[in-house]
């Protein structure tokens, strides 16, 4: 149960990364000049760099807990390896789902 909670927390942090990435992209699309790098664009980059670093620190703290939790699987090598695969799947997942277009239920084109 505690392991499942940990995985959920890990995934929540992953979502936070994706959310920040989306926000940064949207903000840059709105404010950046496609022909030049403007001070505004640099400011946005700096702002999100700080935000990303915050979430990275959270993730780092989360990883500290992982080793202790995984020790419980030490008696079963398969369970231990499976726990590694679980975390690496979350860690290596991309944010494609968040990027896909979302259709409202009342969209006129939706059959």
């Amino acid at each position: 149960m505690e392991w499942q909670t940990y995985l959920r927390e890990l995934y929540n942090v992953h979502l936070k990364f994706c959310q920040l990435g989306d926000e940064k992209r949207e903000e840059l699309n709105r404010d950046a000049d496609p022909h030049n790098v403007t001070p505004r664009e640099i400011a946005i980059d700096d702002k999100y760099d700080a935000k990303f670093k915050e979430v990275q620190a959270t993730l780092q703290t989360l990883y500290h807990r992982q080793a202790d939790l995984q020790k419980r699987f030490g008696a079963n090598p398969f369970a231990f390896q499976f726990s590694i695969v679980q975390t690496s799947r979350i860690q290596n997942a991309n944010c494609a789902l968040q990027r896909s277009p979302r259709y409202a239920p009342n969209d006129a084109d939706d059959p």
Binding site: F17, R25, F52, L59, Y63, C95
Partner: protein
């Protein structure tokens, strides 16, 4: 790439033979120190040098004084610390290698946290890096030694024999270095491949680290 591997291979051999040389010299010197005979050694060494200077065969022991000669060691030590860590530039190269452009910043930012952490904790990889750095240094010393052309240039029998001995030495030493280097490269590649299955980001960072070591140009040979 082939050239790089060949260069690496050549470096590897040196390490093996050098370490043997270092062991033999230290074991020979330690008893001498215990017997309190350094003055005798000091007396003998110059005589050997002066008498055998024109015909001297370069041995493994000759490599060691070059590396311990002073300033070059300090330079290499500085390089080592930067080569053992994957700094921001190294991370950026790994990111570009994996194709994480601005659209995939979130994914990269997340993966790099774990990659950094695991990379620091991977003592086996750090050992491989240290070994390959040593091999590179040894190979550079070998190349410097080779370029110094200490063999006599006359047509006398003794000079010809000395030149033949030198050529044989450089060939054997070069082969040894290449074999050891090849083994190191294979070990590193295998480790990178294993890591890459679970953490592509970490594997890419390791790849950059390895390339940085083996792509380095040799420093200028020490001035005599």
């Amino acid at each position: 790439m082939i050239f790089r591997v060949a260069t690496l291979t050549a470096l590897g051999l040196c390490l093996v033979s050098l370490s043997c040389g270092q062991i033999s010299t230290s074991s020979a010197q330690t008893p001498a120190v215990q017997e309190a005979t350094p003055p005798d050694q000091k007396d003998v060494t110059p005589k050997l040098n002066t008498t055998a200077k024109p015909k001297k065969v370069i041995t493994n022991e000759d490599l060691e004084p070059h590396s311990a000669a002073g300033t070059t060691d300090k330079i290499i030590t500085g390089d080592v610390s930067s080569l053992l860590n994957c700094d921001a530039g190294c991370e950026q190269q790994a990111r570009e290698f994996l194709g994480y452009d601005a659209d995939y910043e979130a994914e990269w930012r997340m993966q790099v946290v774990r990659a950094r952490r695991d990379l620091i904790a991977d003592s086996e990889w750090r050992g491989m890096l240290s070994q390959s750095i040593g091999q590179h240094r040894t190979y550079c010393n070998f190349l410097a030694q080779q370029s110094q052309k200490t063999a006599p240039s006359g047509n006398s029998w003794a000079a010809q024999v000395q030149r033949a001995r030198n050529a044989k030495y450089f060939e054997t030493m070069g082969n040894t270095l290449r074999q050891g280097l090849e083994m190191s490269v294979n070990r590193m590649n295998n480790h990178i491949k294993e890591v890459g299955e679970l953490s592509p980001a970490r594997a890419a960072m390791m790849n950059v680290q390895a390339n940085r070591i083996f792509d380095r140009a040799c420093d200028q040979p020490p001035q005599r």
